[in-house]
Amino acid sequence: MNDNKVNLLGWTCPRPLLNYPTIVMGHGAGGQMMADLIEHLFAPAFDNQWLGQMGDSAAISLLSLLEGSQSGKSILNQQSAINIAFTTDSFVVNPLFFPGGNIGELAVNGTVNDLAMRGARPKFLSAGFILEEGLPMEILGAIVTAMAQACKKAGVSIATGDTKVVQKGHGDGVYINTSGIGIIPAGLDIGPGNARPGDAVIVSGTVGDHGIAVMSVREGLTFQTGIQSDTAPLSGLVDAMMRASAVLETSEGPQPIHCLRDATRGGLSAVLNELAGASKVGIEFDERKVPLRPEVNAACEMLGLDPFYVANEGKLVAIVRNELAEQVLAAMHAHEYGKDAAIIGKVVSEHPGMVTAKTSIGGMRVVDVPAGELLPRIC
């Protein structure tokens, strides 16, 4: 265990962190507070080129993996172009079970998707469980069964794992961490910094389903609805998109799919803002073009929430070269998880780092990142 005390003042602008002497819920909500924590604490501390990619998963060349290894030297020359995608995700969902799934599916699909967003084919996962003393065995059984089914559906194997138990009162029943690896096809470079003015912005389906499904069973806010979580493995969809844009066969010229990002906490707006920021471009979209279930819309109105901030678990945003947008869209429509996909906007050179939207009345608004945890309002 490292003895060094964390010296906040030694790193880049600590001010955002100093406002909070302790961690608060907002730090895990996928919005600006969490981004601050990463930017001002984790990133400067761990400081390396792979973390610096800030992608859903890190792309690690076989070269770097083998660097410094004597036995690896012989493999170096032939396989140096291969990149491995490596990612991790932790799941601390409350409640554990919600309409459309449970923490188990999220744990598998979440990591599968982080790999898929790099264009990698997910192959192997690890699963670490932190279980609270007193958790009923049948609850764990239901979660594990769900994980097994999700793995089958996604075509991945849980190759390694770990289990720990904490005392009663020290965990919400179950916490799960999954890490995953996959191979990124040679020459493929899909990353958050690749968007270019003129590119089309595509979302793979209806937004806000997961967040509303969870809220509908959260104590204090319960309501009746048919909305289910949209948790899904997106690797197959990404595969179909890449084949449609013939990206695997492209050996020259810029590849058609520039960015892929799955929309989780922080919703559609968090993803668009991250991509705009990483690529230093502006994004403009049309609110009316964003697929939205009427029931999700109704729930958001009732609670005073913006559907663009509400969490998803089975949706991605793709930024693709404009000429190939329709082709990619057609391939998405033909896939189970892309039926409602739509082109919602475009990348522009104006207002870099900022996302704007045309409103339902033809006006214009800036779509920012939510500050912290999403709260229902009465005002």
């Binding site: 001010r15 955002p16 406002n19 909070y20 302790t22 961690i23 608060v24 819920m25 907002g26 600006q32 507070m33 601050d36 204090g220 806010l221 009427p294 819309n297 109704a298 109105e301 609670l303 005073g304 104006e350 207002h351 900022m354 704007t356 409103t359 339902s360 009345i361 033809g362 006006g363 214009m364 608004r365 800036v366 920012d368 500050a371 912290g372 709260l375 229902p376 309002r377 009465i378 005002c379």
Partner: protein, 372 residues
């Protein structure tokens, strides 16, 4: 959604904008009283679409923003007590007190819970007989009937562990205070549609008469807002100063009588301090004596002496009175952002400062005179 989509119709919006453009011949300052209206206007981009002569001033109709710092600090002190379950509407959780907010109290072990309806707080009290459940009863007249019902229910169910921290404010007194202030620049008001759904609009007739100022009861969706603006501008251009109802599908002259009766039953008028503005006489509600048993401030007298420290940089008050725009504040976007708010107008989802920041109104390309 019925009764919402029709009022977000782009075509109707454009017709109304065209009509307003045709009607207006000189600059007018209109104040939309309600924070929910501010939020809707800025979120839909309506403020940038109105003719240049119409200047919308964002009024103090944000109960979150005007809840006195002292009460926020009292809420925080109560929430930190181990025997208390503190319940509140979501809006109040990030409002900065003198040193922290309710969220921070939650983080250090306080039992703070968000409720959707005040009746949920009563349920929590019933389910937790060994704890005292305190409900933060904030709001304008719109929310008073609901908050009052919670108290009546607690009494009817014989609950001894339920109390409320009351911070109710009322609109007519605020309009009076605004119009009486020396540098007032408001020519007409768009009154709050949901406050008037409860109270009716009979209270505004003497105000329109006294100050020779048109008051139009207005709804919240873009078409509703424009309808209100059009009516107001028509009155101004023809020298009229009446109360008109542009939200007739929900508002009547007398309002909701059963709701008003319950408000009178549970509350009485009192002077209230408005954060950033000061004390406005007879501008709020407090519990009637017979409900003292439900008053959190009486139950926990230790919170009565609380020292408050408002940020010296915060000009929320001037913003709430419509005398300054959010981006005219030196701290705006620098020390004061939604993540690091110095005052309530930056925290509340309908606070003018938050709306300006979130919807980018401070950016050069978003300023009205720079429209294409």
């Amino acid at each position: 959604m019925k009764y919402i989509d029709e009022y977000r119709d782009a075509d109707l919006t454009h017709r109304l904008l065209a009509q307003i453009q045709k009607t207006v011949t000189r600059p007018w300052n209109l104040m939309e009283v309600c924070g929910g209206q501010t939020h809707s206007i800025i979120r839909s981009g309506l403020d940038r679409m109105l003719p240049a002569q119409i200047n919308l001033i964002h009024g103090p109709g944000c109960p979150v923003c005007v809840t006195p710092l002292e009460l926020v600090d009292k809420a925080i002190a109560l929430a930190a007590l181990p025997e208390v379950i503190f319940t509140s509407y979501g809006d109040m959780l990030r409002v900065p007190g003198s040193s922290r907010d309710l969220f921070a109290v939650k983080a250090t072990g306080g039992d703070v819970r968000i409720v959707y309806s005040p009746l949920d707080a009563v349920q929590i009290a019933k389910a937790n007989p060994n704890k005292t459940v305190i409900f933060f009863a904030i709001g304008f007249e719109t929310t008073a009937p609901a908050n009052a019902m919670a108290i009546l229910q607690a009494r009817a169910q014989g609950l001894k562990n339920f109390a409320v921290l009351v911070s109710h404010v009322t609109v007519p007194a605020a309009i009076t205070a605004l119009m009486d202030s020396p540098d007032v620049q408001v020519d007409g008001f768009l009154a709050a549609g949901h406050v008037c759904t409860v109270m009716g609009y009979w209270e505004y007739e003497p105000l329109a008469e006294k100050y020779h100022i048109p008051i139009v009861i207005t709804g919240f969706e873009p078409v509703d807002i424009l309808h209100g603006v059009l009516d107001c501008v028509q009155e101004l251009e023809t020298g009229q100063f009446e109360v008109r109802n542009a939200y007739a599908r929900s508002v009547t002259h007398d309002g909701n009588q059963p709701a008003q009766a319950v408000i009178r039953n549970v509350f009485e008028m009192t002077d209230r301090a408005w954060r950033g503005i000061g004390v406005i006489p007879m501008s709020g509600y407090r519990l009637r004596d017979e409900f003292t048993a439900f008053d959190a401030e009486q139950r926990f007298p230790q919170i009565q002496s609380i020292e408050t420290h408002e940020s010296p940089l915060c000009i929320s008050g001037l913003v709430l009175q419509g005398r300054k725009k959010p981006d005219e504040c030196p701290a705006f976007g620098k020390q004061c952002t939604p993540r690091t708010p110095l005052g309530a107008t930056m925290v509340s989802s309908e606070g003018a400062c938050a709306a300006y920041f979130r919807y980018g109104r401070y950016l050069p390309e978003m300023k009205k005179d720079e429209r294409q």
